[in-house]
């Protein structure tokens, strides 16, 4: 391979790339901006900041001890940002998207819930008005409300005036019921025990025996994020910068392919082909310059993430570089593929934009691929971006060693070989 023409092609392509300020901005600044935004979303709260709270309204139309207990519980919940407007105001706020949901405790809720707690009383509705575009938050609100309602109702039924009244009213009803004798006896013994519990002297805190009354959550959750180490927090910027860098280097290389088609339109390939330069040198020159540009995009993005967002290569630096180089080569030969298969610059630009977006979506560059259905996760193994993203994740926040870089690197180099082979065989070498 002639080195002077090869080197000249690389220099020329780099000069052209950096002479186009729009390309430079799109390739370097835009991915950093978008990755910073996505990283801030997916990183979760920082150590010093509180988690995002769900905005809910609670409207107490009952005013009973139970409904007041529910409102107090909800207001104390760290997951909620609670307001107490009127029902009309709450419905309007939900409709306008200012609240995720509004919980309406209707009149008579406390008494009906108490009756339903021990006996066969009808279960009262707890009305939840929600924004249909925020169904995930609605599900969280319903789940958390279950806890607060159970705590408030059980607390009242095991220690409040309403609970005593219900038991005193229920015992004669059970005595006269048609329930089987063994069941009747068991239920009456349980209620009698509760009644004896009520009659114990209250502690200064108002609770018999010093223990909180009612049903409480019988467990706590210990959460442990599996990252590179026990003292290393997950850094969502590592994933977002990897994903966005890959997306934009693919865009840059697809653009390189389109530029090759434009060069053909402008007659430049006539000059190239009339010179005593081999086809291998011509394609290798393009692939080399594309690899350099891609690698620069990837490394500049990660350098920014390291300096500004404290992203670290917790795994193998060598593995990270191997994946980065393999990814850059894959992207570069993807550009050659565009030039080989594209009929015209305009159609190639449209099709490749779609292709790149599909690849980055399926490859998990935007959102992690584990949220996909199982069949789709299998399918995405055929997408090179998936291997690049997973490989970079492994070398950064997952902290996996060099062994974790081998398979992604080999697969990406496999895509490089495949793309190169198709490009070389399908490239239109004749210039009419």
């Amino acid at each position: 391979m002639a080195l002077i023409p090869l080197f000249a092609m690389v220099v020329k392509d780099l000069q052209l790339f950096f002479s186009d300020k729009r390309s430079v901005i799109v390739s370097f600044v835009v991915p950093i901006a978008i990755a910073s935004f996505f990283g801030s979303i997916f990183s979760g709260p920082s150590r010093n900041s509180e988690p995002a709270k769900i905005a809910v309204a609670v409207i107490d139309q009952d005013g009973s001890p139970i409904s007041k207990g529910i409102v107090a519980g909800v207001q104390a919940d760290k997951n909620f940002k609670v307001t107490t407007p009127t029902e009309g105001e709450a419905r309007d706020a939900v409709r306008r998207g200012r609240l995720a949901a509004a919980v309406i405790v209707p009149k008579g809720f406390g008494e009906a819930a108490g009756n339903a707690f021990f006996g066969n009383g009808e279960k009262p509705p707890l009305n939840v008005v929600f924004d249909p575009s925020r169904s995930t938050e609605k599900a969280m609100v319903s789940g958390i409300m279950t806890q607060h309602v159970m705590e408030a109702v059980s607390k009242e039924m095991f220690g409040g005036a309403q609970g005593r009244a219900v038991i005193e009213r229920t015992l004669p009803q059970i005595q006269g019921s048609t329930m089987p004798d063994d069941q009747k006896r068991a239920l009456m013994e349980m209620l009698a025990s509760v009644q004896r519990f009520y009659n114990q002297p209250a502690t200064p805190g108002g609770q018999a025996g010093g223990a909180p009354r009612g049903i409480t959550m019988p467990y706590t959750v210990h959460e442990e994020a599996m990252t590179a180490g026990s003292n290393i927090a997950y850094n969502g910027y590592a994933h977002s910068f990897g994903g966005m860098a890959i997306q934009f280097l693919l865009f840059a290389m697809a653009n390189m392919g389109v530029e090759m088609l434009l060069e053909r339109q402008r007659g430049l390939w006539k000059r190239l082909r009339s010179a005593p330069v081999s086809r291998l040198t011509l394609l290798a020159g393009k692939a080399a310059s594309g690899t350099i540009v891609s690698l620069m995009i990837l490394l500049v993005c990660f350098a920014f993430a390291m300096i500004v967002f404290s992203v670290r290569i917790q795994g193998s630096v060598l593995g990270f570089l191997a994946i980065a180089v393999a990814c850059a080569m894959m992207a570069s030969t993807f550009g050659l593929l565009v030039a080989a298969l594209g009929n015209s610059p305009a159609t190639a630009r449209g099709i490749t934009t779609l292709a790149v977006l599909m690849m980055v979506m399926l490859g998990g560059a935007w959102v992690p691929s584990f949220i996909f259905p199982a069949w789709l996760q299998q399918f995405t193994l055929a997408v090179p971006v998936r291997w690049a993203v997973d490989g970079l994740d492994a070398m950064t926040w997952r902290g996996i060693g060099l062994s974790g870089a081998v398979l992604p690197t080999v697969v990406l180099l496999g895509f490089t070989v495949a793309f190169s082979a198709v490009a070389a065989t399908r490239f239109r070498w004749e210039e009419a």
Binding site: L16, L268, R273, P276, R279
Partner: protein
């Protein structure tokens, strides 16, 4: 210097060039004329190794031209009809790149760039971006790019399209100078007056075949005109007919 023997090329059912033969000697400019679709550009493309002939051969200095990396390609310079230049780069960057394709580098390359730019009168604008050049200047730079490696044969495909009379005249002077230096020039154009001024011999093609190959007086003798010589245009129309071509 350049011999074309029995070239043939077809695209699907269309036979673009059929059994075309002619030659260009050292210090000679041959005008290649023909209506649209006559096969001129296809012929030039085969000579420049942009297309592979189905039949026939191109001989450069008596040796057959073959393969992408054939060193004999260094003897041929192509000036395509398109302005095959990178607008976003300077003239120097363009010429450095095109020179490197012919393995020129270092002082040799810089000397070649200076000589080519001097010939076309653009030395003062060497550092300017090509996009700042006028149409005529780009045409002259296009010519300079084809001359960098000092080829013995220059293929010029309509090199004066869209330029003003001053630039056209400057290009003519360049070509006459090159001819005097012993270069063999093959010149395709639609402008009859250019061929009348420059060409030592004229090859007329139509429907993929050579239908005439002679000097200007030789072609003029084919058409009888009362009281004088026929113009090249009238000769051309007589040979190729007056029907419109696509």
């Amino acid at each position: 210097m350049l011999e074309i023997k029995h070239l043939r090329k077809s695209f699907g059912q269309l036979v673009a060039v059929d059994d075309v033969s002619f030659s260009v000697d050292r210090g000679q400019l041959v005008g290649l004329l023909g209506p649209n679709g006559a096969g001129k550009t296809t012929t030039v493309s085969m000579i420049a190794a942009l297309l592979t002939p189905e039949k026939g051969e191109v001989l450069v200095g008596g040796a057959r031209l073959s393969g992408d990396t054939d060193p004999k390609k260094r003897k041929i310079g192509l000036v395509p009809q398109d302005l095959a230049l990178y607008d976003e780069l300077s003239a120097r960057a363009n010429l450095r790149f095109f020179g490197a394709l012919y393995n020129l580098s270092g002082a040799t390359l810089e000397k070649a760039i200076a000589a080519a730019m001097d010939l076309v009168g653009l030395s003062e604008r060497l550092s300017d971006l090509v996009k700042t050049y006028s149409g005529g200047m780009k045409r002259r730079l296009n010519l300079a790019a084809g001359l960098l490696h000092d080829p013995d044969i220059l293929l010029l495909d309509e090199p004066t399209v869209g330029v003003d009379p001053q630039s056209r005249n400057a290009i003519f002077e360049n070509l006459e100078l090159l001819k005097s230096r012993g270069k063999a020039l093959l010149y395709t154009t639609h402008y009859m007056e250019e061929v009348e001024r420059l060409a030592d011999r004229i090859v007329v093609m139509d429907h993929g075949k050579v239908i005439a190959d002679d000097t200007l007086p030789g072609l003029q003798s084919l058409v009888a005109v009362a009281g004088g010589k026929a113009t090249l245009e009238s000769v051309f129309l007589t040979l190729t007919g007056r029907s419109l071509r696509d």
